[in-house]
Amino acid sequence: MNKTIQIKDLSLTIKKHQILRSVSIEFESGKIHGLIGRNGSGKTMLMKCICGFVRPTDGEVFVNNKKIGKDCDFPDNIGIIIESPCFIPYYSGYKNLKLLANLNKRISSEQIRQSMKNVGLDPDSKLHVIKYSLGMRQRLGLAQAIMEDPDFLILDEPMNGLDKDGVADMRKYLHNFKEQEKTIIIASHSMEDIEVLCDTVCEMDKGILTVVRK
């Protein structure tokens, strides 16, 4: 199955402010795609359109050949981190993930625990999320994104708050994910992350997408 994301002539205007302008691109599977650009350039909105949170004014988004908004509300089997991840503060990390996983009951408790271990968190810890460091929250955010073994990962600034080891772990994990022929889109302000991780790089500027490296 070709796990691609196709964006055709996508435009988005919210309250008379044009955020995306005729964006067309295809994100192929088995690659890590980097998205760079200044704050407010439209990266997060593009990701929200791909995830189905925002309906475009014009154009179409296809994920796995399904048109978002017509064939499905949100893409099936997608993992996301949009902006800094937040959780229910007075629950443990495991309980937070369990609540989310229970929504569609695709995975077992053991898979949730494994995803926490994969990102370096202890699933048996009773520590409430409110006491987590920024890096631990980011790791928990990644755990929720990967726990259902998604075909697509949409990550907005996934390295925020991670220490050196955390960044190394995250890079290693994303490389493994890519080798499974899955599709990853990362928005980052860190040029080093983009250089090290990404196979293709696109730049957003005032809602216009330009391919920098193919």
Partner: protein, 289 residues
């Protein structure tokens, strides 16, 4: 995920929202509200009960709260304050939303509104009866305190406490019926206010939702106080049982069943519009955690 709507997923979304609501620091306002209603409706009734040396029916303080002309403005306003940032879209919500369907999210919000309104009203009920339970009776009849106070003390007929439960209530309906009917009518009023917020949120006009709900409470309360016929267009009058009756005549001004239908129909219309319109909604206004 399939095309079928899962009510279990909606229920789970409602539970997540409910938990977030319960731990919200603004819940302290609900505690202040309890103190307010004690001072405003419960203590005055207890005082006249002591004055007459006669017990109250255990439901009378609660019925007085539901039918007070002042509390009819305060009770929904406090609930609106507690619910005003719902449907809440924080960054955690995005993790839940993409795992379900949009329609399931709407149904989840609807269930959450019922749960939150029920919790709010049951808290008012418990705190209104608990304070005088030792000096109350359980039988389904009005106390002498309510029915005879103004006869025994005609000089106090116009006092605030003497007018808490009026003839339109105790001559026309039993306390159990008044409490149960009042509870469900006010519950539906709260759900209706919440649905107005949801409706405007789905149209991406969240602030207009709060303004509309506030206007509906204010206009309904004002018309209700003056007993203007226009009050029946607003939900507030439908929640106040004494407005449905005259003091003595058997004929009702407005049937209680009509008030139930009023709420059911408006809530159903709003829910239907929300379920239809949610496919065009942008989930982008992230509230902070």
């Amino acid at each position: 995920m399939g095309n079928r709507i899962s009510f279990i997923r909606s229920w789970r979304i409602a539970c997540i929202e409910y938990y977030k609501w319960i731990i919200n620091p603004r819940m302290i306002i609900a505690a202040a509200m309890i103190l307010f209603i004690w001072n405003f409706a419960v203590f005055p009734l207890i005082d006249i009960s002591k004055e007459m040396n006669s017990p109250l029916n255990f439901l009378e303080p609660f019925i007085a709260i539901l039918n007070s002309r002042v509390l009819c403005l305060v009770t929904p306003s406090v609930f609106l304050f507690l619910i005003s940032d719902y449907p809440r879209l924080d960054k955690n919500s995005l993790f839940s939303i993409h795992r379900i369907k949009r329609t399931e999210w709407v149904l989840g919000q609807f269930i959450f509104f019922i749960l939150s309104a029920f919790t709010y009203l049951i808290s008012i009920f418990i705190f209104s009866i608990i304070i005088n339970l030792h000096n109350s009776f359980l039988a389904n009849g009005w106390s002498l305190v309510i029915t005879r106070y103004t006869t025994y003390y005609p000089e106090k007929a116009l006092s605030f406490a003497g007018k808490l439960i009026t003839k339109e209530l105790y001559n026309q309906i039993s306390p159990y019926e008044a409490a149960i009917t009042g509870f469900f009518l006010v519950l539906m009023y709260m759900v209706l206010l919440s649905m107005i917020l949801l409706f405007f949120h789905i149209l991406n006009l969240k602030k207009a939702g709060i303004a509309s709900a506030v206007s509906i409470i204010a206009a309904g309360s004002a018309l209700g106080i003056f007993k203007s016929p226009g009050m029946w267009f607003f939900p507030m009058a439908h929640t106040m049982i004494y407005l449905h009756y005259t003091q003595y005549l058997k004929k009702t001004i407005m049937k209680l069943q009509s008030s139930f239908f009023y709420f059911i129909i408006i809530i159903a219309i709003l829910l239907f519009i929300c379920l239809f319109s949610v496919k065009y909604t942008n989930f982008l206004n992230n509230d902070n955690e």
